[in-house]
Symmetry: C2
Subunit: 198 residues, 2 copies
Amino acid sequence: MKEKKAHHHGNLRAALIEAGMELLQSGGPAALSIRKLAAKAGVSHAAPAHHFPNLKALRTALAIDGFKMFTQSMEDQLAKVDNDPRRRILAAGRGYLYFAKENAGLFNLIFGGTELETDNQELEEAAERAYGVLQMIAAPIERGEKASPNGNESNELMIWSLIHGLSGLMLTDKSGLIDADHIDTIFESILPPLRFKT
Amino acid sequence: MKEKKAHHHGNLRAALIEAGMELLQSGGPAALSIRKLAAKAGVSHAAPAHHFPNLKALRTALAIDGFKMFTQSMEDQLAKVDNDPRRRILAAGRGYLYFAKENAGLFNLIFGGTELETDNQELEEAAERAYGVLQMIAAPIERGEKASPNGNESNELMIWSLIHGLSGLMLTDKSGLIDADHIDTIFESILPPLRFKT
DNA sequence: TGTACATCAGTGAACGCGCGTTCACTGATGTAC
DNA sequence: TGTACATCAGTGAACGCGCGTTCACTGATGTAC
């Protein structure tokens, strides 16, 4: 409970991440700067250097947390449904779409081409865990009759592309087709008929 | 043919756009700056002000050109196929995916949440024309049996989400699933079976 | 064809700003004894 | 429990840089006559 002591913030790393989330939300990835984060965390602008070597590392840390929130959002929705495979796909999609809608800046940080650390193992793991959820819900789908060059991965990629694409289009809707308030209904209406393994 | 005269570049607006395309390609949306564009176009850094009021206007102009290239890329592929509706969807998808692959920076500028001018009519029109292509190729798809809350738009949005999502995932591939060199084959393998109107 | 002149598209200097990073420093914390 | 001390996480000043924008200017272009 030693919050707000003079020196020794005690939790600065977490406070910087939180400040970063707020900045992402209000101004997108381009609004992130070490000095703004420090100010938001109530600390001098040289302080973050003790926790992050540079801005890219900070962005990467935000992206890692982003992937975790993202996985969590899908799992939250999955926890609410039974084992029907189609309903599970719809639930995970809802989680994905809700995450994108509620965290547009973070979504853009992760997927909008912002430069992040390459070969960051924690980032890769967090991304793989998110991908694992999609993989899991796509597993029961019956393979098509045509032999695909991608083997079993086609179904995962089809589901993922569909959800990911709808998320992206929702965030920069140039078509006026997408009402973010009913995004889950929209997803339901574009999910093609699927056959599942028995 | 009065290129390279001392004053009066003659074509500075176009030269700035071209320089912007190169910067986008090499450094992404964050690398764009008026001073760098001016330098690349071989002109003092105050010169662009005569053509663009500010950086956002310049970014918007790049985005407009981006949408046009993007539409063109789909039409180029459509011109190569016959009238079979599924082959037309595959062709337009190829065009979309090629555009994204060849112009990653531009794709991220348009869809990555970068701030652009709102209420720019030219931008809206260019986006609508791109969307029109998708609309056209999706039109022959038979509606599903379930009444959709989106009416006829579901098929367009399904196709668009699928293509758009695959493009985005290709550009930031955290899964290792997507081999950009065979992106058209991958798209073919994830396009679900469709029934077409007779 | 020639001249006067308005307009336009550049130049280059200057401005203030926010940025990341470095540095010597200092106060708080934790540990050895 | 008390003291000495190493370590750690902050401060605040300073740096150089690239940025957008403004400004008076000037040279080139195009037009009226």
